[in-house]
C-alpha cells in the first residue's frame, strides 16, 4: 500500500494544495526528505504566485497530479546544510526557483542549462528520483540539492525579490541568449504582468529603448511613469500599431493566452526576433510570409540555468531591480488566484508564508 503524503518522508511539512481542477487550495499536511549530504533545508519566508501556478492548479495543461502544492519563486533562510555543501551555511538568505533536480551529466547540464535537461525535475508536480511527487513553495520548508539553490543578495528585499526566481530569469535568459542587450536597441514587451513588468526594468538596466505592447490602455501611465518604459502601444489600436511597423529590433512576448502573432511580427525590423516565453495551452497561428520576407525568427525560452539564475539575481541586486508586488496572507491565496485570472494585480502576488502559514 503506498504511503500517504504525510508518511512518505521523515520530515513533517505543511503547505496549501489544490485537490482537483477547481484549483481551490486548502491546508495540506505532507512530508519532506531528510537533509542529505548535498542538500540545503530552507525555511520558506516568501513565495511568489506565478501564473504557471494558476495553470497547474486548474490543470490547464493537462498534466497536473493532485494534490499539488505549487510555488516556484521561493525565498527563505537556510536552516541546515549537508556535509558536502560548501556554497551555503545555516542562516544564509537563499532562493529556489523552477527546478530542484536534473541529470547533471548530459550536454545541457554540463553547459549550465539544467532547465533544458531532458530529465529536469521541476520544483512541483514532478517526480523525484524515488518516485514520489514533489511539492512546491506554498509551504513552510523545502529540502533542495545545493546545485539548485541560489544565494539571495543582501540588498534585495526578500518579498519583492521572490518573483525574480521565475519571472526574472524567464525574461533575463532570452535577453542574453537572443542578443537583446545592446544599449540603444529597441525592445518591445508584449503583456504587462508579472513577467512583463520585470522585463521592462531589466531591459532598461541594459540600456534598451523599451516599448510596452498591451491590450489594456489603462496600464500606460504606470508603464511609462513608474516602470520606466519609453513608450506604450495599445495592441488593439490599428493606427498606432501601423505607425510602429518595422521599428523594433526584438520583442519578448509574455502573453500566455492564445493571441495573434502577425501584428507582433510586423512590428519587427528586418532580422528581428520574437521570443515567446508565455505558454498558451493551444497552438498559435504563425504566418510564414513575414518570417521569410524579413528574415525574422520566433524562438522560445524557458526559465534559465542555475548559473544564469544567480547571475540574474546579482544583476538585479546591482541595479536595484525587484518586482512590484502585493503581499498576501496564505489564506488569501484563492482570492488572489481569481484576481490573477483576471490580471487584477500590479504585478505579482507574493505570499507572506512565514507570517501567515499557521501550524
Amino acid at each position: 500500500m503506498s504511503k500517504s503524503s504525510e508518511e512518505e518522508h521523515p520530515q513533517k511539512a505543511l503547505g496549501w494544495a489544490a485537490r482537483d481542477s477547481s484549483g481551490t487550495l486548502s491546508p495540506f499536511h505532507f512530508s519532506r526528505r531528510e537533509n542529505g549530504d548535498d542538500d540545503v533545508t530552507v525555511k520558506i519566508l516568501y513565495c511568489g504566485v506565478c501564473h504557471s501556478d494558476l495553470h497547474t492548479v486548474r490543470n490547464d495543461w493537462g498534466f497536473t497530479r493532485y494534490p499539488v502544492v505549487p510555488g516556484h519563486e521561493i525565498v527563505g533562510v537556510a536552516t541546515k546544510v549537508g556535509n558536502n555543501v560548501t556554497k551555503f551555511k545555516a542562516g544564509d538568505r537563499v532562493g529556489v526557483g523552477v527546478m530542484v533536480g536534473s541529470c547533471k551529466t548530459c550536454e545541457c547540464c554540463q553547459q549550465d542549462l539544467e532547465n533544458y535537461c531532458p530529465r529536469v525535475i521541476f520544483t512541483y508536480n514532478s517526480h523525484n528520483p524515488d518516485g514520489t511527487i514533489n511539492y512546491g513553495g506554498y509551504s513552510d520548508m523545502i529540502v533542495v540539492d545545493q546545485r539548485y539553490v541560489v544565494r539571495f543578495p543582501d540588498n534585495l528585499p526578500m518579498d519583492a525579490g521572490a518573483p525574480l526566481l521565475c519571472a526574472g530569469i524567464t525574461v533575463y535568459s532570452p535577453m542574453k541568449y537572443y542578443g537583446m542587450t545592446d544599449a540603444g536597441k529597441h525592445l518591445g514587451i508584449a503583456g504587462l504582468g508579472g513577467l512583463g513588468h520585470v522585463a521592462v526594468k531589466i531591459a532598461k538596466a541594459f540600456g534598451l529603448k523599451v516599448t510596452v505592447i498591451s491590450s489594456s490602455p489603462s496600464k500606460e501611465s504606470e508603464a511609462i511613469n513608474r516602470l520606466g518604459a519609453d513608450s506604450f502601444l495599445v495592441s488593439s489600436d490599428p493606427s498606432k500599431m501601423k505607425s510602429a511597423i518595422g521599428t523594433m529590433d526584438y520583442i519578448i512576448d509574455t502573453v500566455s493566452a492564445v493571441h495573434p502573432l502577425l501584428p507582433l511580427l510586423t512590428l519587427l525590423k528586418v532580422n528581428g526576433k520574437l521570443v515567446t516565453v508565455g505558454l498558451p495551452n493551444k497552438s498559435l497561428e504563425l504566418p510564414i510570409f513575414p518570417l521569410v520576407l524579413g528574415r525574422k525568427l520566433i524562438g522560445g525560452s524557458d526559465a534559465g540555468g542555475m548559473k544564469e539564475t544567480q547571475e540574474m539575481l546579482d544583476f538585479c541586486a546591482k541595479h536595484n531591480i525587484s518586482a512590484d508586488i502585493e503581499l498576501i496572507r496564505m489564506d488569501d491565496i484563492n482570492t488572489a488566484m481569481e484576481r490573477l485570472a483576471k490580471s487584477d494585480v500590479r504585478y505579482r502576488f507574493v505570499i507572506d508564508v512565514a507570517n501567515s502559514l499557521s501550524q
Binding site: 497552438s283 497561428e285 521569410v292 520576407l293 522560445g300
Partner: protein, 360 residues
C-alpha cells in the same frame, strides 16, 4: 498613349511571355534600355525555371503584370559595359538573379542585404526607376546595373550555374545566417526539389551530415546515391519520425505547401533551428511548448544579398556544387511548366536560350 513594349527602349529584345492567368507562354517582342554608364549588357545563354516563375505567370500571388517575361536565374556572356563599370568586361561569364535594383542607402542595403531593402526591384514584373516594367531571363539579352551582376567562375558550366542564382542563394544564405554551416552538424532538408537538392549539396560541402525529409519514398535512392544525403526520412511514416526525434541541429524547409511544423520541431535537438524558405500562403500552427522546452527557433529567409550571392557562386565553384538540371529548348517551356507543377523534374529545368530562342 503608352508605348508598346517594343518601343519603350532603344535596344530590341525578344523572349517568351505569359499574357494572362492561364500562364501559357508565347513569343514576345520587347526592348531593353540603352546600356547606361553603370550597366552591364549580356547575351543570355541559359535561364533556369524557378517555381516562382510558375506562381507568377499564373498570378497566384496577385502581383503579376502582363505581359510577363519570367526568369531570374539568368546566365550569359557580356556584350557591352557602361563607362563606369569596373568589375566586368565584354566576354565575361555573368549572371543575374532575383533583383536588379535597390535603394542603396537604407540599413539593409548598407549591410549588403539588398534583398531585404523595402525598395528592392525584382528582375521581372516590377517597376524600374524609369517607370517601365522589368522583363526577366526567358529572353535573348539582358541589361542590369553592375551591382546586381554576378561573375560565374570558369569551372562552373553555365547551364548548371543558372539555378544557383535563385535556388542556390536561397538555401546558402540561411545555412550561413542560422549557423548551420559548421562541420559535423546534422542538417535536415525538407522537400527534394529545385531548392532541396541544392541544399543537400551545399550542406554536404559545408561538412554536415544530411537527412532528407520527404513525403515521396521513391526519391530515397537518388537522395542517397546521387545527391550524397546520409539518410532519408519519409515524413508520413510515424515510426521513422519517432526514431529521429531530437537528432537535427537544423532544418532547411523548402516546402511551400501547407504542412505541419510540429513533427519538424520535434526532430530538432535542443537549441535547434527550423528555417523556412518556402512560404505557405496560410499561417501554420505553432505549438508553444516544444519551442520553449527546447529553446528552439523557427525562422525565415529570402534569397540573399549581392555580396553573399557572389560568395555562394565562388563557394559552389570551389566545392563543385552543381545543380542537377534538365536542359530544354525554349518551345518546351509550357510543357516544362506543367511538369514542374507535378514536381516531375530532377531537379531544375534550364532553358537553352542561346541555342533555341528564335527571334519572334
Amino acid at each position: 498613349m503608352t508605348r508598346l513594349p517594343e518601343e519603350e527602349h532603344p535596344n530590341k529584345a525578344f523572349g517568351w511571355a505569359a499574357r494572362d492567368t492561364s500562364g501559357v507562354l508565347s513569343p514576345f517582342k520587347f526592348s531593353r534600355r540603352a546600356t547606361g554608364e553603370k550597366d552591364v549588357a549580356f547575351k543570355v545563354l541559359y535561364s533556369g525555371i524557378c517555381h516562382s516563375d510558375l506562381h507568377m505567370v499564373k498570378n497566384e500571388w496577385g502581383s503579376s503584370v502582363y505581359p510577363l517575361v519570367p526568369g531570374h536565374e539568368i546566365v550569359g556572356e557580356v556584350t557591352a559595359v557602361g563607362s563606369k563599370v569596373q568589375k566586368f568586361k565584354v566576354g565575361d561569364r555573368v549572371g543575374v538573379g532575383c533583383m536588379v535594383g535597390s535603394c542603396q542607402s537604407c540599413d539593409s542595403c548598407t549591410n549588403k542585404l539588398e534583398n531585404y531593402c523595402p525598395k528592392m526591384i525584382l528582375t521581372y514584373g516590377a517597376k524600374y526607376y524609369d517607370g517601365t516594367i522589368t522583363y526577366g531571363g526567358y529572353s535573348n539579352n539582358m541589361v542590369a546595373d553592375e551591382h546586381f551582376i554576378v561573375r560565374i567562375p570558369d569551372n562552373l558550366p553555365l547551364d548548371a550555374a543558372a539555378p544557383l542564382l535563385c535556388a542556390g542563394i536561397t538555401v546558402y544564405s540561411p545555412l550561413r545566417y542560422y549557423g548551420l554551416d559548421k562541420p559535423d552538424l546534422h542538417v535536415g532538408v525538407v522537400g527534394l526539389g529545385g531548392l532541396g537538392h541544392v541544399a543537400v549539396k551545399f550542406a554536404k560541402a559545408m561538412g554536415a551530415k544530411v537527412t532528407v525529409i520527404s513525403t515521396s519514398p521513391n526519391k530515397k535512392k537518388e537522395a542517397l546515391e546521387k545527391l550524397g544525403a546520409d539518410s532519408f526520412l519519409v515524413s508520413r511514416d510515424q515510426e521513422q519520425l519517432q526514431a529521429a526525434i531530437g537528432t537535427l541541429d537544423g532544418i532547411i524547409d523548402t516546402v511551400s505547401a501547407q504542412h505541419p511544423l510540429l513533427p519538424l520541431i520535434g526532430l530538432l535537438k535542443t537549441h535547434g533551428k527550423l528555417v523556412l524558405v518556402g512560404a505557405p500562403e496560410k499561417p501554420l500552427e505553432l505549438p508553444a511548448f516544444p519551442l520553449l522546452q527546447g529553446r528552439k527557433i523557427v525562422g525565415g529567409s529570402m534569397i540573399g544579398g549581392m555580396k553573399e550571392t557572389q560568395e555562394m557562386m565562388d563557394f559552389a565553384a570551389k566545392h563543385s556544387v552543381k545543380p542537377d538540371v534538365e536542359v530544354i529548348p525554349m518551345d518546351y517551356v509550357n510543357t516544362a511548366m506543367e511538369r514542374l507543377l507535378k514536381a516531375d523534374v530532377k531537379y531544375r529545368f534550364v532553358i537553352d536560350i542561346g541555342n533555341t530562342l528564335k527571334a519572334a
